[in-house]
């Protein structure tokens, strides 16, 4: 699309959404206009992420994107914690984790796989992601498993201890992946040993001259470093704003349709709230930057499990209404299932369209079960 037209439509749709939000009372109208505006902002966010990733490298770019994407969710969740809506908070944490692991990763792998036969990313990163996912599952599973034998105050103490350990683990992971072992975890395919690079070129079915690696590199960025970063921040802010408006009206719409809170919190809100991650990850996967796409999808769900969720436990203490770390059996089953299939598919550091299908099938199975419960 022509750049001038794009920005015109972006601004126009935003103005309409703002108007609908403040000057009408029709929830469906608010929903539709926020949705339209969100589409343009998510597209801009995807483009901005791609540009920032160009300057910052895939991993830092992916991390920035995941962080900006989760900032919105953290803010919304803090409001929910303040009002004591713990069940909704846990449902949306669950939904965010499985939405990223299954839907975002599934769509990225599927659409990337339609265009490129086999896509590869740093397998050491993949294995560490898998181990971190397992830590998350263990941390969520232990309080539920031991709850029966504990008093309520002990459950809260255990929740605080586990939350502290997860936050500690998350910061040590940042130290490890950004500083001490930055090189080994690599910058996408640039971080791969030379022979793996060659293999990628060979398998991509293209001639070496227009090989995948070359293709991924030769593209010049649209904007300067500063403007890219500015657009990343601005578009993240607007995606967050529009997401919140969307969430506000979607709940009213869902109630009218008679859908369960577990489904609304765990699926509908998570899908819309992760629109930023969706668009950016799929966008990058289709440019054969699957490493950055994986970093956004898996990195974002790890951030939710290892940082956002534990921080919410501490925030709940500040508000004087302590929230525990005990998830329902349904939520634990969903998170465990999502973590295991994502681990199984990503741990070899290579993906194809069928692996995307597998992730999406599991997402639909879980979605159906949550819709019915």
């Amino acid at each position: 699309m022509n750049s001038k037209w794009f920005f015109s439509l972006l601004i126009l749709s935003t103005l309409i959404s703002v108007g609908a939000h403040f000057f009408t009372h029709s929830e469906p109208l608010k929903f539709a206009t926020a949705c339209l505006s969100l589409l343009f902002w998510a597209a801009l966010l995807g483009k901005a992420t791609e540009n920032v990733a160009h300057y910052a490298g895939e991993r830092l770019g992916g991390f920035l994107n995941a962080t900006f994407g989760n900032a919105a969710e953290l803010i919304i969740a803090i409001f929910l914690v303040q009002e004591g809506l713990f069940e909704m908070v846990k449902a949306s944490i669950t939904g965010s984790i499985i939405g990223n692991l299954l839907l975002v990763l599934g769509l990225s792998v599927f659409f990337g796989g339609l265009k490129y036969k086999i896509q590869r990313f740093n397998s050491m990163l993949a294995r560490h992601n898998a181990s971190l996912m397992l830590l998350s599952v263990i941390a969520l599973f232990i309080p539920a498993a031991f709850m029966k034998g504990l008093e309520k105050s002990e459950v809260h103490t255990l929740s605080l201890v586990i939350s502290s350990l997860l936050i500690l683990g998350y910061f040590l992971w940042l130290l490890f992946s950004m500083i001490t072992h930055k090189e080994e975890l690599g910058e996408g395919i640039d971080g791969l040993p030379a022979d793996e690079k060659k293999e990628i070129q060979r398998e991509s079915g293209e001639t070496p001259a227009s090989g995948v690696v070359a293709a991924a590199e030769e593209e010049s960025p649209d904007w300067s470093k500063g403007i890219s970063l500015l657009l990343l921040i601005v578009s993240t802010a607007f995606v967050a704003l529009q997401s919140e408006w969307l969430v506000g009206s979607v709940e009213a719409v869902a109630h009218t349709l008679g859908w369960s809170e577990l489904f609304v919190g765990g699926f509908l809100i998570a899908i819309i709230g992760n629109a930023a991650e969706h668009s950016a990850a799929i966008f990058l996967a289709m440019k054969n930057r699957i490493g950055a796409a994986v970093e956004i999808a898996i990195g974002s769900s790890l951030q939710v499990a290892l940082f956002v969720a534990p921080v919410l436990v501490f925030v709940s203490w500040l508000f004087g209404q302590p929230m525990d770390f005990v998830f329902t059996g349904y939520e634990l089953a969903a998170i465990a299932v999502a973590a295991f299939i994502a681990k199984s598919i990503s741990q070899d550091g290579s993906t194809n369209w069928f692996e995307g299908v597998l992730l999406l099938l599991v997402y639909i199975i879980l979605g159906t079960a949550f819709f019915m419960v």
Copy 2:
């Protein structure tokens, strides 16, 4: 064995079994004669599969063998569904999955491993098999996990949705493995990169001149393409027939001995019903065609979980007696345990005798537990 002698004994044993089936009422006699005849037909099936695999390549050959092997089970199961014997159907589905994953794969890996120090097969195929096994476990686990919160009609709807998704997944897997990524999933060791081939030769402990790869290739087929295929079909049909007779009399014998239905359905019937897969897979493994053996064992259990079981759910609707997809805790435990150990052992694409021992130990543990329950 001399070919003429073999066919004489095959025909003779078949005639005796036919006679015993139609003209006597002694169950033990029926059982013994069907067993003897089955041995010869299974041997012929193994030989025919090997020949077809020679022409069709290991993966297609393995797929054909798995399909022909499961056709018999599907037919028997449809009769059971028609009579509403859902528990028996689910027990035999369970038995077929764990029988293939543990007993068939275990024996193949063990006997193949006694002859060859390390046997290798395409590791990309192994990883995809593992992910598909995980999908099967998830699909069986979710209805049981969510059942408590659902009404009976909702369980049936969820069962239908999951069945549709599994069949869709199975056909996309065929599309993926037979068409879009045929080359990557490789034709056994021929599909391995050159350096892996060399490694196999080196590790086989033989001189390069009489190396494993050469050994596997130089053997010329016994029959032409057409005759091989004809013998595959005929021997499958007779194995199915004899299996059914065996199953019929074995139930009577088992009842006399006072064995539980779960053990008869899940172990005895499954072992006999999979005689075809057994003989073919072990035969191939001992010829160092472990790739085809794995394709038969794991492929067959995947076919049961992703295709046979869901089809039976739909068939039950046609009969007006809907069967759900909820397995008992024992069955789920057995399938999950079998899938995890098979995944752990097969996912590196290499096997040895001790890995066969591990699979067989788990099979005996499960068999003992099912026998006692």
Copy 3:
């Protein structure tokens, strides 16, 4: 430390501990003196193991160390079985398994990782260890899963069958790893293919001249083969003796402090009882012999699960007080969690400091939960 000084302090501290044990009644004094003496003996054991490993190779050395380390635990457990204290026995088996998999392995990987950026060991061994761990978890899980449907006498029969199978599996594993596939499982990095060795040298960040491989080899042993072996046996005996004294007094101390038996048996006794493994494994990891450290940590926990625990079931029959193989839900959860995270981290045959952190975090989470229950 100067060798003469070391042996003087060793003998002195031992004499003091002996004196405190036989001539005083103060439990804290017994505890403190046994602890001090244990430190020196554990250090000697580590040094002796390192020397034996030099002569015997990493795997046999590691096996010897694990066996000598577990001998003490087996002897203590037999006394407990004789007195019918089955809960305490199972708690200490659990504690020993998770202590080795999480604490010993975690500390080794962490401290080794602080010194060397990436440490590698034979990945075929790692995968087999992972499969054996899975077998252990399955063997412990099945009796608990099927217990509800079984009578008490059937549970005991099932326990005996599973115990026999595990001991059979353990001896076949020794046959496999020490005889038929000794070379493939390799002697640490010497067993790696040439290109992996180069990679290790490259990644170690040292110049090839003083490379890791060279560094690990060039160190000459302190003692002759015979003296090393003698010191190994003597120091193991004293570590066992001091451990037992420590355990005796620690229980009294713990009771005074009001700690639960599950925590004392599963954590406190296990930590102290495994002091030998701790010191030896960390010592070796910091000398970049991570292969031997892994063999001690994982090998020791496998030995407990596959050999010590089943032998205790048989011993209980000899005493006429049969012990079953049914562990509590908490114990199963802890063992499964430990096995999965250790598997996830070790199966690629490479470790770094952050993977040590992950293991330790899980250990602290489990410890907190057990402390509260």
